[in-house]
Symmetry: C2
Subunit: 212 residues, 2 copies
């Protein structure tokens, strides 16, 4: 199986497949048809079959998919057994929330430090972390392997902070700034979180509430 052949659109759907299959597994469901899976995923059954064929997750005619094995296969593709180290930059409410969120380490993302530039915040505690000064970032990254920087800084400084992070050799950025971020270094991976997108869909659905 060559993961490079999996399209970006399919990859972006995999976490959702993973969640639904996890729920099914926990509910004791052993197999599921592409029809039923498509209803959960809100895409067509043919799209489900096409998605899962991409990585060899073949259903059997008249049987459907084995929930447990499909679940494991998707976890494997997503690399959920991998471990990553992450730092949070920006110890505002979002940064605090991220730093305290237990679920990320279950996905292999282990936060090891939190940074801020505000003297009144530096040195305060967030869970087990004592917030470090941003001036310590370079030394910290020099002395610790850091895979991902989670950016929860104000919009106007996001680009500068991102450039600094990239210059220090960090290869992954999880950006919470409402400004979508592009970095010049192609070897760096950026995922932007756009909370407003979900809110716009909610607004649409409120006005067209037959659309579920």
């Amino acid at each position: 199986m060559e993961s490079k052949n999996i399209s970006k659109a399919v990859i972006r759907r995999l976490p959702r497949y993973y969640r639904y299959l996890s729920d099914l597994k926990d509910s004791g469901v052993e197999r599921i048809s592409s029809q039923d899976l498509s209803a959960l995923m809100r895409i067509t059954a043919s799209q489900v079959r096409q998605d899962l064929n991409c990585f060899g997750g073949f259903g059997q005619q008249g049987y459907g998919y084995n929930v447990e094995s499909l679940y494991k296969e998707i976890a494997n593709i997503l690399g959920l057994d991998q471990q990553y180290t992450a730092i949070v930059i920006g110890a505002g409410n979002m940064g605090k929330s991220i730093a305290q969120y237990k679920n990320f380490s279950r996905r292999g993302f282990n936060i090891i430090a939190v940074f801020d530039n505000d003297p009144s915040v530096i040195g305060t505690k967030i869970s087990d972390f004592e917030v470090k000064s941003i001036t310590e970032l370079e030394d910290f990254v020099g002395n610790n392997k850091v895979d991902v920087a989670m950016l929860t800084v104000p919009r106007e400084v996001t680009r500068d902070v991102a450039e600094k992070v990239v210059a220090l050799g960090i290869k992954g950025i999880w950006n919470f700034s409402p400004m979508g971020l592009l970095v010049s270094d192609e070897s760096v991976v950026v995922e932007n979180v756009h909370l407003s997108d979900s809110l716009m869909v909610l607004g649409y659905r409120l006005r067209n509430s037959r659309l579920t």
Copy 2:
């Protein structure tokens, strides 16, 4: 134009079209081909044409799409001129972050109150909001039009809080609990925010970094 004919998958892409068109407009770009738009959107050009045809956003051969008019059309479909009232339930870090976030009101979502059940939090200030006791929720909803409840409560109480909100007649739920939420009342619209999905995609891309 009959918005009910627009598929859910297209609706979920509209906020991204909207963001990219907004950036293009701000950069002074007047028109864009389906090819260039598809590169931004990371879907095929034929998917772009199909999406935009759904709501009559026809490009012209050899010209492409007019950025300004497509932008306005999508804003119109998403109903970004609409105004909604919202309350935040759960005044932890995520709740505080949401309550202070300026961008949501730009999207028409106006937060009017924040609730919690923790006596040490009730009465404290978040921006202009004095955190109310959850025991005041029923009276508040009786006296104020509330379109959306934004739930930032712990996983284990999410279902109970959602049921209470639904019983009070609130028709929209924006759920930040890591547990995806389903409610029994079909007239209620739920949008779940799954931050971990984006993180899983980041992990995948870190290990397959040619995939952008």
